[in-house]
Symmetry: C2
């Protein structure tokens, strides 16, 4: 079983891509809604949370882990690799970096994300490992997550904020923009309009699901249950999250709070 | 010692008022930055967190507890009262309600706050207990907290969002507006401009500090240390929080993460 965790519901954009690229593949999702968001928290805290989340997913049957969250991928991947060395772990950053490098023609790539992701400098580092000549420009966009969670997808306020965040990247004439946070693909239309049609948007969810699909197919892994056998866990249940989740995934899902495991997340 | 907890740094507006109204009074602050914000979380989760936070404050020497957070005041006060029946506990809602009732002339009061606070209906209930004839209008303003934490205090985007949130309250001709979230006093200028000069803004921090000061003076409680003896604890330390906190309080403070107690907050 593929287990995916996220700081909240953002990782559902990754789930949606997995359902698209691996039809019939059941998944186990864990959203850490009791401690969401991760974007402004410290590396130490995010690593601790990510280890707890992974332990939980393994305890309920996951055998492959996907970190469905850019901040946790940036901050906690190394800690997870070390702690769970025998488990295949996928993060969302490397696949996006590879896709962006294939896409860019003028070698000017932009990255947007939470403060945690952007300040970690991980996108820049990974891009330069593969091609040191590429110029990387980045901008934290901390208001995008609350705007998406408010459902303010194409309101004038959202457009105004997007223009403010993206103007420097536009001036720097990037031709490729990595949407370095799982919430951002929901704002694709506004972001594309403000950054201009010349720039290609890279969605890490898509790139990550593709990498996972390749792995699964190569290993000849077979699944017994259909996608309906998927399970969704949350550390806190608020009515709003179910509504957003169903809207995003386009299907009814029921969330479970594993209360007997509550101490895991305090 | 007075112990104050908040979901993060918002409660520092209450601390600032306490320093103003009780000069020389040292306090112990705990900001739950590892699990912030509380605004969209469930009552069960917020109660659990509030009990843990109170236990921590008592363990480090607090003898009076102030819930420096509207969401926790709305969701967890009863649970704390029951659990810690011998400790004086102050919340920020009743003092604001009393101040608003004294202020209103046309008996039309507005309340803004997080989704959690507004949906709990607690302001309406408490106002109607004291005066059932008052009409209460409310509006959740979930983007105000991230805007304040971004430092976007008087940007055009903030003004536009404030106009959107406050237009219905303005149409309803309220003459008194309760700022039902500890972050909102930082947006006083923008809020006053958009709601109009006729409406009086009620800051729960001010009203709560006054109530606490009355209690302290009446009981003849004496303090040995000066305000410099205050201690500030956080469950997660990010550079941003120190910067915002010092800007708000107008003085240098050093935060402590009590790592030996980390399991309290998982």
């Amino acid at each position: 079983m593929v287990g995916i965790f996220d700081s909240g519901i953002g990782g559902l954009t990754v789930v949606k891509e997995i359902f698209k690229q691996l039809p019939g593949q059941p998944i186990i999702y864990f959203g850490d809604t009791a401690r969401t968001p991760y974007g402004n928290k410290s590396q130490e805290t995010i690593s601790r949370y990510s280890i707890e989340n992974t332990n939980f997913l393994l305890s309920v049957g996951a055998t492959i882990i996907v970190i469905g969250c850019n901040t946790a991928s940036a901050m906690a991947y190394d800690a997870l690799r070390e702690r769970f060395s025998e488990v295949p772990i996928f993060e969302v950053i490397s696949p996006a970096v590879e896709a962006a490098i294939s896409a860019t023609k003028n070698k000017r790539i932009g990255v947007i994300g939470t403060a945690g992701t952007v300040n970690s400098g991980i996108y820049e580092r990974k891009i330069h490992e593969l091609d040191p000549e590429i110029k990387v420009f980045h901008e934290p966009c901390p208001l995008f997550v609350p705007l998406v969670e408010e459902g303010w997808i194409d309101r004038p306020e959202t457009k105004m904020i997007a223009r403010k965040y993206l103007s420097k990247l536009k001036q720097n004439q990037i031709d490729t923009l990595i949407l370095g946070c799982t919430h951002y693909p929901l704002l694709k239309k506004v972001i594309q309009a403000k950054i201009g049609n010349r720039a290609r948007l890279i969605d890490p969810a898509e790139a990550t699901a593709k990498k996972l699909a390749d792995f699964v197919v190569k290993r000849g892994i077979k699944f017994t249950a259909g996608a309906d056998g998927s399970r969704f866990y949350l550390s806190d249940l608020t009515p709003k999250f179910s509504v957003i989740a169903e809207k995003w995934l386009g299907r009814k899902i029921s969330f479970v709070i594993p209360t007997e495991r509550r101490n895991l997340w305090s």
